[in-house]
């Protein structure tokens, strides 16, 4: 029943999916009669990662809706189950829906709410204030989903606000949830022997994890606790504040670019449908967009997604030739037996052909953007900044972007990037940018600028030149890396090697943090490297050293597709000194735009 794209790796991610499903179905099965599910928008789309429609049908679900203001859609189901995250605006919508429904129908339905991952005090209070708490009497449940399965080596919490909440508002709640997610992973795959991390958020998560495991082990029967070796050898907790630069850099891998340009949500990209209408498709297109699922379940995509985009074209044409050859075989002389084999292979060949067609189209759409003057100019500026060229004065290209009123997010990305690569801006330069931005885009953005400053993305120059030192010590910029057959992770941004992944490269080594001694003082503290013991106090069994180590990298505050690609690249290196296979967890999949947006102050009425 599990999705095949989840079970390919050393750690079987589909168990997380099964787990989440079990929780959901056991709650649903307790409700008698037919049910409709109403989810808040974002949650509705991650639901698909847990269970699909036919499965839900088996559990007596009639239909699925998104939460909207006003009235619920007409339905004959006996129950309405709201599955929402604990946010006040959702509560208000639920209250609206319930009020209207009660008014509308004489024979009232039963209402239920499942809070993901838990109900909060404020939400309950709001339900009460809105006078609907009584409608849910006995029907408030919690669905403790913490991690959603994305791929055979990737899980995400899908919480976009972790970085902002912790670094701006001092709120550790989502870090606590991250620790719970880790605890769940440990329950599935064994207690992870080594916990390494950098940054304040990483330490918080580690502390929470310690505490939670202690509490858990104290209520657990000692004999039942498994002492089987853990499937994961080490977890590296990386606070996003340790590396703010990487998410801002334009990703140049195939998947990264698709995300930068079109946005990938829950493994799915929405593209204009007109590019995908084909003659053998009998259903007329009613929607404007076509959803394309991107995961390792598709052989071709798994092959090209981590490549630098410049290598994707050649890979696609090679694949096209192979496919053509395969189809051409049918013309040759054949015995009946051979013919039979050919026919048996046909469905998979057709699927390959279809996916080839899709990706050729997507690649063309991407290329249209990457060939544009605008894209290339911005990229060139980025690369200059990375190389420390002209970072200390007002950059003419950024100024131009402001004058031309390019999207604010693009400007902010570049300004922040300059601030980081210059290890802080001179106050005259920063003030100039701020004034220009406020006058061109509106005074209300002062709040966003203030947030960026508080979060450390926009900063004033200090005595230390962190970036210059890090760039040298960790080789953050690499010239002449062959993008088609790369030898270093810097291919994911052409030129720039993500700081985060450079750190991981060191931290997986036995005495990794010692090797980083010279630079660790330049990063947000603390750095730690702990050994976890099993509940009984005995040290955990260590797997034989010649098999590859499995390392879970947990990005607290989000990670980009380019970072994931870089880790996959390292996993694949046969001659690497570390012999490591990576599993990736993140609080959210982000890119430069979504990262900046998560820190921006939305002002709806503008």
């Amino acid at each position: 029943m599990s999705s095949t794209h989840l079970s390919g790796g050393k750690v079987n991610i589909s168990r997380i999916q099964e787990h989440a499903r079990k929780h959901l179905f056991s709650l649903l099965d307790k409700i008698d009669g037919t049910k409709d599910i109403v989810t808040d928008g974002a949650l509705g789309s991650v639901m698909g990662l847990v269970a699909n429609k036919p499965m839900l049908k088996e559990h007596n679900i009639k239909s699925m809706f998104h939460l909207h203001p006003g009235t619920l859609p007409n339905s004959s189901s006996e129950n309405t189950v709201f599955i929402i995250r604990p946010q006040l605006r959702f509560i208000d919508l639920v209250a609206d829906n319930v009020h209207n429904e009660v008014k509308r129908s004489r024979k009232s339905k039963d209402f239920h709410i499942f809070f993901v991952p838990r109900v909060t005090f404020l939400c309950k209070k709001r339900l009460e204030d809105r006078g609907v708490l009584g409608n849910f009497e006995g029907n408030l449940k919690e669905l403790p989903w913490h991690l959603y399965p994305f791929d055979s080596d990737l899980v995400s919490m899908e919480i976009p606000i972790t970085f902002k909440e912790f670094h701006l508002e001092n709120d550790p709640t989502t870090l606590h949830q991250a620790a719970q997610g880790l605890l769940m992973l440990q329950c599935l795959y064994g207690t992870i022997p080594r916990v390494t991390g950098i940054g304040p958020a990483a330490q918080k998560v580690s502390n929470f994890l310690k505490r939670l495991s202690l509490e858990q082990s104290s209520c657990q029967n000692p004999s039942s606790s498994s002492i089987a070796p853990s499937q994961i050898d080490q977890v590296i907790l990386l606070d996003r504040s340790v590396d703010l630069l990487t998410p801002l850099a334009t990703q140049l891998t195939y998947e990264g670019l698709i995300d930068e340009i079109f946005g990938i949500q829950n493994n799915t990209v929405k593209l204009p449908a007109e590019h995908f209408s084909s003659s053998n498709d009998s259903t007329p297109y009613t929607a404007d967009t076509k959803d394309i699922i991107l995961n390792s379940g598709e052989e071709l995509f798994a092959e090209i997604r981590d490549k630098n985009f410049s290598a994707v074209g050649p890979a696609l044409s090679k694949k096209a030739r192979q496919t053509k050859l395969q189809f051409d075989e049918r013309h040759g002389d054949k015995t009946v037996q051979e013919m039979k084999q050919f026919v048996a292979r046909l469905p998979s060949m057709m699927a390959n052909k279809q996916s080839l067609a899709y990706h050729t189209t997507i690649a063309e759409l991407v290329k249209k953007v990457t060939d544009s003057h605008k894209f290339l100019e911005a990229l060139q500026t980025e690369q200059e900044l990375m190389n420390g060229i002209d970072t200390d004065k007002v950059h003419p290209f950024i100024e131009d972007c402001i004058d031309r009123k390019e999207p604010l997010i693009k400007v902010l990305r570049l300004v922040c990037m300059q601030a980081l690569t210059n290890s802080g801006l001179r106050s005259k330069v920063l003030e100039y940018y701020k004034k220009e931005i406020l006058q061109t885009y509106g005074f209300q953005h002062a709040l966003t600028l203030s947030n960026l400053e508080q979060a450390g993305l926009l900063r004033l120059q200090q005595n230390q030149r962190q970036y210059t030192v890090l760039r040298k010590a960790l080789r953050l910029t690499v010239e002449d890396n062959d993008e088609a057959s790369p030898t270093d992770i810097s291919y994911v941004h052409s030129v720039y090697a993500p700081l985060s992944i450079r750190l991981v490269q060191h931290l997986v080594r036995p005495n990794g943090s010692r090797a980083l001694q010279d630079v660790i003082g330049l990063l947000p503290s603390p750095a730690f490297d702990d050994i976890q013991t099993s509940h009984s106090g005995s040290s955990l069994p260590v797997p034989p050293s010649d098999s590859p180590k499995v390392v879970l990298v947990f990005f607290i505050g989000g990670c980009t597709f380019a970072e994931i690609s870089a880790l996959r690249f390292l996993s694949q290196q046969e001659v690497s000194d570390a012999n490591v296979e990576f599993v990736i967890a993140t609080t959210k999949l982000i890119n430069g735009n979504s990262f900046i947006e998560s820190l921006a102050e939305p002002l709806d009425h503008y």
Binding site: R15, E18, H19, K22, L27, D29, L88, R118, V119, T120, F121, L122, K124, K125, E128, L133, E137, G138, L140, K141, E142, P144, E169, N170, P172, T173, L175, H176, Q180, L183, C187, L188, N207, F208, L212, E215, Q216, S218, C219, Q220, N221, S224, S225, S226, D400, I402, D403, K405, E436, Q439, T440, Y441, G442, F443, Q444, A446, L447, E601, D604, H605
Partner: protein
């Protein structure tokens, strides 16, 4: 609970969230490191699974009345334990059920007295703070009422912060807020930045501006206070009210220090007023536009307004201190869109006093000017004029080619005495066209000393 006997069972039995399991009876095992007898846990579970008791009655949940979240592990109890046993268990030892509905079952008088006595007693006894915080975290029934002393309240808050769950922290803070004097509350918050941040956010989402500002000022965060105030003002929908609010915000919060923010707010007010006034004149909604967008508007519709008038683009630009480059760029784009070429000349080209020769006064690189003019459809004589300001002939040629200004290309080749270049260019032109003939003319000039 539907039993699942698949591979995930380990987790079900061990997860801290679902900490309870009937099948495993571990004597002395407590949650979160706190020892608790099995019966207590059992009856707690009983409570959680009793329908109709949740959310019953007491509406003031803020004051820490009993509140529950039904656990996901509700079991069909009667299958495990007889009713009689259950009653005994309920009575035997349980702090939490003390507030339960006693009408649920018929009691013997002495039984009832015993229970009531305990109820009274427990009302005054405070359970360990860790247990209560854990109950909040797990969504179990709990009461904060019994924490009456200041020290126990502090301990409660410390325990919540230590757990790290924002929900628990907030519930405790709100309890403190309702039961303590404001000065004491502020004292506690001042010592607990995490708690203060939570409370500030709560007040912000509830739009309790006054209280929030008090809090931030008390915490010595006058900048944050001013910023929050500014944010709340900016979010006001009605413009008149927004202006009013910003004004009072400036006079009450931006008095001392932080002059950039004050200036920002003042400019914001001035701009809103301008937008309101000019929008009325022009029957257009300008609210929310930026200073540069307003400048563009003024360039479009108020170009000829007298210099001193507030609607005049130069006055507006000066008032907001918009930098020269932005001004020039805006004028160029807007006047070019109106095809008002003489206006552009009048701003950017200064004749010297003899009247011959002219100088360009422009803060934008000339190549960008030419391309912008071209994109707005400037005629070739305008383009030629501005191409004339490109300092090197080579640059002039390539730029002129880009915008299709043949005359400049041809003249430049002539000035460079580059016959081959000119001949090559002529070959690309349509024979017989005006520019073709012009090129031929230049080539024929006998006085030119061609260098090739």
């Amino acid at each position: 609970m539907a039993r699942q006997d698949t591979e995930g069972e380990d987790f079900w039995n061990s997860s801290s969230i679902k900490s309870f399991n009937f099948d495993e009876d571990e004597p002395g095992g407590g949650l979160f490191g706190v020892s608790k007898s099995g019966t207590a846990r059992l009856s707690q579970q009983v409570r959680a699974s009793l329908p109709g008791e949740e959310y019953g009655g007491n509406s003031d949940s803020l004051m820490g009345s009993t509140s529950t979240t039904s656990s996901t592990t509700a079991l069909p109890l009667h299958t495990l334990i007889s009713d009689k046993c259950l009653t005994i268990l309920m009575d035997a030892d349980h702090p939490d059920t003390a507030y339960g509905d006693p009408m649920k079952r018929v009691m013997k008088p002495d039984e009832e007295i015993r229970m009531l006595r305990r109820q009274v007693q427990e009302r005054w006894d405070e359970p360990p703070v860790e247990i209560t915080i854990k109950h909040i975290f797990l969504g179990r029934p709990h009461s904060l009422e019994s924490y009456r002393s200041l020290s126990s309240k502090r301990a409660l808050l410390d325990a919540a912060i230590c757990l790290g769950d924002g929900n628990a922290i907030l519930e405790v803070i709100l309890f403190l807020a309702h039961t303590l004097k404001k000065s004491l509350l502020h004292q506690i918050l001042a010592a607990n930045p995490i708690a203060a941040a939570h409370y500030a956010r709560y007040l912000a989402t509830r739009l309790q501006a006054a209280e929030l500002t008090d809090l931030l000022v008390m915490l010595g965060k006058s900048r944050e206070a001013a910023m929050k105030q500014y944010q709340l003002c900016s979010a006001t929908q009605n413009v008149q009210r927004q202006i009013q609010k910003l004004r009072s915000c400036i006079s009450s919060h931006f008095v001392q220090g932080d002059s950039p923010l004050k200036k920002l707010a003042q400019n914001h007010v001035a701009l809103l007023e301008w937008e309101l006034a000019v929008g009325e004149i022009d029957k257009e909604n300008l609210i929310g536009k930026s200073a540069v967008e307003c400048l563009a508007h003024a360039c479009r519709l108020h170009w000829d307004d007298p210099r001193g008038s507030p609607t005049n683009p130069f006055s507006l630009a000066q008032f907001h201190g918009i930098n020269e480059k932005q001004i020039h760029w805006t004028i160029l784009s807007e006047r070019a869109s109106q095809q008002a070429w003489p206006d552009i000349d009048s701003v950017f080209i200064t004749k010297n006093w003899i009247g011959s020769g002219s100088k360009l006064k422009l803060a934008i690189p000339i190549d960008k000017v030419v391309i912008q003019l071209h994109s707005k459809g400037a005629p070739s004589d305008v383009l030629c004029k501005y191409l004339g300001f490109v300092d090197s002939y080579e640059k002039r040629i390539s730029l002129a080619q880009k915008v299709g200004c043949h005359k400049t290309v041809i003249d430049s080749y002539g000035a460079l005495r580059d016959r081959q270049g000119l001949q090559g260019y002529k070959a690309t032109l349509h024979p017989g066209s005006e520019e073709f003939l012009y090129a031929e003319g230049v080539l024929r000039v006998s006085t030119t000393k061609w260098k090739n």
